[in-house]
Symmetry: C2
Amino acid sequence: MCSSQELSLRNLLITISYDGSKFHGWQIQHNALTVQEVFQKALYSILNDKPDIKACSRTDSGVHAEMFCISTKISHPIPCIRLKAALNSHLPESVVVLDVKEVNDDFHARYNAKGKRYIYKVLNRCERDPFYTGRALHYRYDIDVELLNKASKSFIGTHDFTSFCTLDKREKGDFIRTIYDFNVKKTGDIVEFTVEGNGFLYNMVRIMVGTLLAINEGKIKPDAIPGIINAEARDMAGPTAPPQGLYLNKVFY
Amino acid sequence: MCSSQELSLRNLLITISYDGSKFHGWQIQHNALTVQEVFQKALYSILNDKPDIKACSRTDSGVHAEMFCISTKISHPIPCIRLKAALNSHLPESVVVLDVKEVNDDFHARYNAKGKRYIYKVLNRCERDPFYTGRALHYRYDIDVELLNKASKSFIGTHDFTSFCTLDKREKGDFIRTIYDFNVKKTGDIVEFTVEGNGFLYNMVRIMVGTLLAINEGKIKPDAIPGIINAEARDMAGPTAPPQGLYLNKVFY
């Protein structure tokens, strides 16, 4: 049975973007500034209420989001367009609200996500670039884009990705995910690793990229990925690439 | 007559890039951090000497440089490639040395420049973008790219640009410059105003962009630019666009 209070709640889907270099990830932490903290503060100060907020995922410290989704049930009658403007006037420049809309009562930002796209950016030249500080991995060895693009295709499909997950009790044992697409391309000095899938394990994209870079360096063979997947052993894969290159690019509903 | 000391000097051309949002412009100031200050400190600490440095131009507070050139005569025998690495290890992440090479004794970073290319970046959407904070003008009105691109062609040629200069005694009366090319194009949410010329007066690019944006807003007529040039009066042109959108993109020698 619903109380009259619950019946009058509006379920909102709020889409934001943030520069992760300014935060210690999404999720609230003690003694470290997170995106969730500044977002909640802005929301609560506008609504004068503290609704639960559900996020599409967590991002780690230094990881960016070009699109990140939150659902929350509020009783306040503020129109969506005004809530968007109010949030943007309360948020720091490193976070922006792109859209606010009402959704069905049973919508949940995490459970309703059908998939996500991540982009990992690598600055591939000798010198650093002041415009990519904290926004790309600086990698000095020449990247063989054709080789890595071909190798990346082995990730596509439905697999147990235990080898590409930092083991964590939060994952609760289901390591099967489906990767729809993976490609590697270079524009100027920037190499982008783009991956779409129905879901991602903890650190999965960063370990996939780290493995491809290990292939680039000759430390792992170009045709080794199917064997690494089959081994279901984290130590078979390459290192976890650092966070500053990772962007949550899109959430699919 | 040259002393033996002067005869042994090497003339170096040093190419750098910097994120201007971290600095109060290029030129040394009291009580404000400038690019010249951090560059000189790095150079002097490596050479244990204080050579004069000549810059291709000044940039104002908040203006960026994708390519900025400095010439300096030093007596130290350090190889160019090692000086580049040493400077990069001494400089903050907001400044990078892209190249160091020896040039003819009479080369001067400013007087030998045959021309420059500037790009002015505008974020043209309703919401701000955390990844362009301090790196583009945020402009919410729809930009009519075709209209402004066509209007910008009136700048091309050799003209007296008094109307497009913040009057300043440093300019000493020569207001004639040649613009080789001007174009306006949009990629995603970013509109780029790209202009090449043999030289630029103080604030000239920012006033040209401000005038084009005034045309976009209907405050100045699309065909008014030739008349504004002929008037030789600053108050006929549009406002000075803010600094954070401006990038010195290339110096031609």
